[in-house]
Amino acid sequence: MKGWRELEIGAIIPKPGTAMEFKTGDWRIERPIWDESKCIHCLFCFIYCPDSSIIVEDGKMKGINLDYCKGCGICARECPKDAITMKREVEIRKEELQKRE
């Protein structure tokens, strides 16, 4: 990390788009799980997501960017087909550990 002599004057950020470098996904307590088979690609999740974490390609839902998803659960609530459900991260962690054993 930079020392005080190397920093920009007045704490400005001299280039645009640096919010991408600040990954907020590790704040998450619950993770959205997307069931592709139930999804009708209405993109309500994309519209409602406050962190732009819904990945869309060619007008279709493609998944969730977990680097930025804070796990607020709005997508799961708004999904008309219950294609997104929230699962606690600790549960996911536990399952992963069990698999390793």
Binding site: W4, L7, I9, I12, P14, T18
Partner: protein, 392 residues
């Protein structure tokens, strides 16, 4: 050089007209109302190119100044007392964003009780905000200092407030030698901005969240900026002196060379102390004046050098505000701290005077020296803090 009879407010407004800033956002308040009023006349009469923003409060005034300075403008404003207090939050932002805003400040006491007259409580409340502070002794110096402040601010990338005592300077008419518009423009030169928010070829973010990882470094950088200020003030003052014949330093001394008593004052009262020194010298008292002109940064190294002398036995400080620390006023507290490592440590005594605009007279200052002589003879100061002109 055109010589004029001007009040302090008129002189400051005239300096602003000649500087012709890009933006002035201001809200009038006694006793600095006239500066804003006169300047808005200049705007209405087309004498300046300034975008004048009449705002709904001083908080908004300083906020608009911050926005305009971020956009790269040369920005000025004016306030006093409660107005400066209402700007308080934004003063820190202006300094930390390193914006060279110049504020014409007229010193007035703070409420309560409500009072519109002079003391230094208002600007002393902003002394840790990161602004450079210059206290003028008269209208001439207020005028000259504002012109110099533009250069100082734009070289240090720090905001500057130039203070003039309310009513005593702001409303009293004095002879002021003004410069021509061309002289002012050539002295201040082109405006330099540390960055420009509206430069689309170089997009930037101003004022982002800055937490445990970088806030400390940015504050250290701001402290370092303040470290660079003294030589900048001296350089600008020297150039001003060479061009226009009026010299100003970080502080001013009068009859100080062989003085055994030093009376320290700031603002208009320093003129009264000078007269007292002349009379006291005629009576055989070795008294001199130290007028602190630049209070932020506090020129502690140069003051130590100046005052660490075996012949100086006592320093009596006149403070026009109190710190409420029970240790005396801000000038005493800072000066005593500066002298902590002195080899020839003088005795120190603080006098709070002139709160709420109470006048101070030559005779009262002479009493300080008479009492000072007793302290020197007895080798001790009875009370560390006293009050001048107060009814017990």
């Amino acid at each position: 050089m055109p010589m004029k009879a001007l009040t302090g407010n008129e002189a400051m407004a005239e300096a602003m007209r000649q500087i012709n800033p890009d933006v002035v956002a201001a809200y009038p308040i006694t006793p600095s109302t006239e500066v804003v009023q006169i300047f808005s006349n200049f705007v209405a009469d087309g004498l300046v190119d300034t975008e004048f923003v009449p705002v709904e409060s001083e908080h908004s005034a300083m906020s608009a100044c911050v926005g305009a300075a971020c956009a790269g403008g040369r920005v000025m404003t004016c306030t006093a007392s409660q107005g400066l207090a209402l700007m308080h939050e934004i003063l820190y932002i202006a300094a930390a964003l390193r914006l060279p805003i110049v504020l014409c400040e007229v010193n007035r006491s703070l409420s309560a009780p409500i009072n519109i007259h002079c003391d230094h409580s208002d600007t002393m409340g902003s002394r840790e905000s990161g602004w450079i502070q210059i206290y003028a002794v008269d209208s001439q110096e207020a005028y000259d200092s504002i012109i110099q402040a533009i250069r100082i601010a734009e070289e240090a990338f720090l905001p500057v407030m130039v203070s003039a005592d309310g009513f005593i300077i702001s409303h009293c008419m004095q002879r002021v030698d003004t410069l021509t518009d061309e002289e002012v423009q050539s002295f201040i030169g082109e405006h330099k901005s540390p960055y420009q928010l509206l430069d689309t070829s170089r997009p930037i973010t101003v004022g982002p969240l800055d937490l445990q990882d970088y806030y400390f470094e940015h504050k250290r950088q701001e402290i370092e900026a303040m470290n660079t200020v003294e030589p900048i003030i001296e350089k600008v003052a020297k150039e001003f002196g060479q061009k226009f014949g009026r010299y100003y330093g970080l502080f001013e001394t009068y009859m100080l060379d062989d003085a055994e008593q030093v009376i320290v004052a700031m603002g208009s009262a320093a003129g009264t102390v000078k007269e007292a020194c002349r009379e006291l010298r005629a009576e055989g008292y070795k008294v001199g004046l130290l007028r602190t002109r630049v209070f932020r940064p506090f020129p502690h190294k140069k003051l130590l050098e100046l005052l660490d002398k075996p012949q100086i036995k006592l320093i009596s400080v006149l403070d026009r505000s109190d710190t409420m620390s029970t240790m005396g006023g801000p000038i005493l507290v800072e000066l005593r701290s500066a002298l902590y490592n002195a080899t020839n440590k003088p005795m120190m005594k603080d006098y709070i005077y002139g709160l709420g605009g109470r006048d101070i007279f030559v005779e009262e200052i002479k009493q300080v020296a008479y009492k000072g002589k007793e302290y020197i003879e007895s080798g001790k100061v009875d009370k560390p803090v006293d009050y001048i002109g107060l009814r017990e």
